[in-house]
């Protein structure tokens, strides 16, 4: 294949050649036909929206690439499920009259997922201080008391949390611009 972006015709060929295989691979990993079918579609959709930087030399390279993308999607799916369950648990403890609209819930879920991803990259106490300050809008003194550390320490945690998230965001922006990396 020529060494430039994957063309729609090539995506057609990739789909015909590898969709069944990818579906089976995902099913083995997820143990659920619906999820496997959904993710297999998502992988190809992503290939259309964010084309790979160049064509694939052969079928095994194409499969390695598809597997890398699919694997990342599986991990995201489990992460999202966990977040969704936590949110449902929270909702279940509140009177139904307070339940936000479906649109609002979608926004909240997305925010929970993003915040969860950021916090996972941080040390426990740093993540906890950041969450209490930002999500619960608590004061630094209150947080210091709850964590059993000084206010100075809370301030240090916050600067550390923010810096790491900024760097993550900067890398993300760079990665988005680079489109997808090559398969390993």
């Amino acid at each position: 294949m020529p060494a430039n972006n994957v063309t729609p015709q090539q995506i057609d060929i990739l789909y015909t050649d590898h969709h069944g295989w990818l579906n089976a691979w995902l099913y083995k990993r997820l143990g659920n036909t619906h999820d496997a079918a959904d993710l297999a579609q998502d992988v190809f959709l992503r290939l259309i929206l964010k084309p790979a930087p160049r064509g694939f030399i052969n079928a095994s390279e194409a499969r390695a690439y598809l597997r890398t993308v699919a694997n990342g999607m599986c991990i995201n799916l489990w992460h999202r499920r966990e977040i969704e369950q936590a949110w449902l648990d929270t909702l279940a403890t509140q009177p139904e009259a307070f339940a936000p609209s479906a649109e609002r819930q979608a926004i909240i879920l997305e925010a929970l997922y993003e915040v969860s991803t950021m916090l996972l990259a941080l040390p426990t106490k740093v993540a906890r201080a950041f969450l209490l300050i930002e999500a619960c809008q608590m004061g630094q003194k209150e947080v210091a008391q709850e964590l059993g550390v000084s206010t100075r320490m809370v301030r240090k945690y916050l600067a550390q949390a923010m810096l790491e998230c900024m760097q993550l965001e900067a890398r993300q922006t760079a990665a988005d611009l680079l489109t997808l990396s090559e398969p390993d």
Binding site: T90, R128, L132, A135
Partner: protein, 336 residues
């Protein structure tokens, strides 16, 4: 060779230097204090306006803070935050479990076959279980509140009890529950397809592929599918539901709960259904010839001794048990 237009635009993109990112993060920590002074605000403004890279770095601070906004506006932000915190704790634990499984696989302590054929989430779930049973094993538990639970074959269950709630998570298999009354603490069971809330009762929950089967024998149970569809099931009813849809309600088979006593009660069900049930209690292949699959079966069969059950079936039906290998058994029509 793969230098497309995208990578050249990266080169033109000037990210603020690390030192500036650090300054922005420090300003954020100073200004988020309830004690931030007017002077500090003025100093921050001067810093912000002194260089375009400062503005850019501050843009990151704003976009990150912005992500928390939807959480601040929930009914109970603290509760939302704690839910998120617990989810993250579980995610971290799971990563550790998966890392340790990877080590076991690497050292050959877990058979490669088992590992390869078990979907990853199931494996991870089974490792989270507080209680489990092996294939062919059943188990009876009394929980701290006096509720009694029977675990059927190949079942995994985890439990969260605290002062506000009694909660079980059925990870695989089947359980029969007889709840103890406690009006101050609701009793809930989660399955991958949804949540069940017991309203003082005896019921069975079983995971069947991508569906949950719920049968209620006493009281009532409220179900809520993952997609939020709510319905209530009364005593004597059973229903299957997936994450999306709830099937029609049927009459509960009272005989289904007999497994808690180690017995399979067959009252005019097909041999196919009996075999499907027996397969859950037994490792290895249990085949069934299509010619005999629709024979009707009556009787009580021991689930604790499947070989005995097979003999009993051969005694009462026109079938024979063909044992090719100890773990390869098939039920075939009797030879004339």
């Amino acid at each position: 060779m793969s230098n497309g237009p995208a990578s050249s635009s990266i080169a033109n993109q000037s990210e603020p230097p690390h030192r500036v990112m650090e300054q922005a993060a420090e300003w954020y920590a100073v200004l988020s204090s309830e004690d931030a002074t007017k002077q500090e605000y003025a100093d921050w403004r001067a810093w912000l306006e002194s260089d375009p890279t400062h503005r850019k770095a501050w843009g990151y601070v704003e976009s990150i803070s912005h992500r928390f906004e939807p959480l601040q506006t929930t009914t109970a932000p603290r509760q939302t935050a704690e839910g998120l915190w617990q989810a993250n704790t579980r995610l971290i634990q799971r990563r550790r479990v998966l890392a340790s499984i990877a080590i076991l696989v690497g050292t050959g302590l877990v058979g490669w076959g088992t590992w390869r054929h078990t979907p990853l989430p199931l494996l991870a779930r089974a490792w989270q279980a507080d209680y489990d049973t092996a294939t062919g094993e059943t188990r009876e538990l009394t929980l701290s509140d006096g509720s009694r639970i029977w675990l059927n074959t190949a079942t995994a269950l985890s439990q969260t009890y605290d002062t506000h709630k009694r909660h079980l998570n059925l990870l695989k298999g089947e359980i029969f529950i007889s709840t103890a009354a406690d009006p101050s603490r609701p009793f809930t069971v989660d399955t991958p397809q949804g949540r069940l809330k017991a309203l003082g009762t005896r019921f069975t929950v079983r995971l069947d592929g991508e569906q949950t089967l719920l049968a209620v024998y006493e009281g009532a149970v409220q179900t809520r599918t993952r997609l939020g569809k709510i319905s209530t099931l009364e005593a004597g009813q059973q229903v299957r539901f997936s994450s999306e849809a709830v099937n029609t309600v049927e009459a509960a088979q009272a005989t289904r709960e007999a497994w808690t006593r180690g017995v399979l009660v067959a009252q005019d069900i097909t041999l196919r259904e009996v075999v499907a049930e027996l397969r859950r209690y037994r490792h290895g292949h249990l085949g069934l010839a299509p010619e005999v699959a629709n024979l009707r079966v009556f009787g009580n069969f021991p689930l604790t001794n499947i070989d005995k059950t097979l003999e009993m079936l051969a005694d009462t039906l026109p079938v024979r048990i063909h044992r090719l290998l100890p773990w390869w058994v098939s039920i075939e029509p009797q030879k004339d």
